[in-house]
Amino acid sequence: MNDLVALFISSAFIENMPLTLFLGLCTFLALSRRPGTAVWLGIAVIAVMGVTVPLNHLLYRYVLAPGAWAWAGMPDLDLSYLRLLTFIGVVAAAVQLVEMIMDRAMPALFATFGVFLSLLAVHCAILGGSLFMADRSYNLAQSAVFGLGAGTGFAVAVIMLSAIRRRLAYADLPQGLQGLGIAFILTGMMSLGFSTFAQVALP
């Protein structure tokens, strides 16, 4: 139990997806202009990562990993090179499924939320989460916690950045820095702040 808590904290803060691993930066910068959209984006990322990472874990372990087909008399079969294609397919399908369920069950929420969901089908952080899971050979519980933790880290970072960027409306910036330039520098400062988490001693 303790190491699951440690994994959650380390995936959310120490190895923060956008700030220390540079994953999911495209949406991180493009959708952080307003706190309202940032909150929805964060929730969507947590939900999709929490579902797809454990799902991909099951697929990887029982279909793709070397030796997964030993029970069928093919112990040498190694399909792990197909993991990228499989993971992308699972993420896209999961996103589509969540979209359909939401459209049916909560149409009002879907109207505000749906745009972000379809964006997530090609999101570096979500795919990266699944790839890290396979690289580090987590078990099922660990991959579920890792997915939720990494999603939470993304949500925290994007909401913080959007809050800062809203304040920037009152700042008198040099012309060339407006928009993208200052967003990068702010992200760098947040990343400096998050790097202090690396000193946290986990149990």
Binding site: L19, F22, L25, C26, Y81, I88, H123, L177, Q178
Partner: protein, 217 residues
């Protein structure tokens, strides 16, 4: 002539990274050394040219309802080929790049170009445009990679340029350059530099502050 413009335009005027915020994810993670940046640039340029060519060839047979998933599958298959190639011939480098080669599959530069250009154009212009965007992306990676390696370690491509104190020289390596924050600062500075030079790239303000009223006497 037009093809030439399609290759050179994205390098400075329409740079995919600094103007369109595409593909930053991998641009920052792999630039701690120049060698890694070059490998990543070559991999991405190869994938984007092949993907644009293939998608442009089948563009008339592609129903628009499934075009996204077909593009993703084509790109992902090409990425697998590149990944296997790196693992076979440059094993150490592929370990150092870890998941970032695979993440070319979700790199927005690739999907952005195939979706917005290759789907509507003949193969030759599509590939020229892809080459240009690949080079534009590579230019940013090479600039960042050179600066981070030079100031972080005092070397370029592992050849010592600035003699470090450890080797009896005068240069104190800046460890911050090898960490995540410096990549953001450098890219922010690069964007600033480009936009101060090419002022037409400056973003318009969403809203402006009203001028302060004259104080009443």
């Amino acid at each position: 002539m037009k093809l030439w413009a399609q290759v050179t335009d994205p390098i400075l005027h329409q740079n995919p990274v600094t103007l369109q915020i595409l593909g930053i994810c991998s641009a920052l993670a792999v630039t701690t050394t120049l060698a890694a940046a070059l490998t990543m640039s070559a991999a991405l340029t190869a994938v984007i040219i092949a993907a644009s060519g293939i998608i442009s060839l089948i563009r008339t047979h592609l129903p628009s309802s499934i075009r996204l998933i077909v593009q993703i599958i084509i790109v992902a298959s090409l990425v697998i080929v590149v990944d296997q190639f790196l693992q076979a011939f440059f094993y150490e480098m592929s370990q150092r790049l870890s998941v970032f080669v695979s993440l070319i599959a979700t790199n927005c530069v690739v999907l952005g170009r195939t979706e917005s250009f290759a789907l509507h154009n003949r193969p030759l212009p599509a590939m020229a445009d892809a080459l240009g965007n690949g080079l534009g992306y590579s230019a940013v990676l090479i600039i960042l990679g050179t600066m981070r390696e030079l100031f972080g370690r005092g070397t370029i491509m592992d050849i010592p340029v600035l003699p470090t104190i450890e080797q009896g020289g005068w240069f104190e390596p800046m460890n911050l350059m090898l960490l995540a924050p410096s990549a953001f600062f450098l890219l922010g500075g690069l964007v600033w530099a480009i936009r101060s030079w090419r002022t037409e790239q400056v973003e318009k303000l969403e809203y402006k502050l009203a001028p302060a009223e004259e104080p009443r006497r």
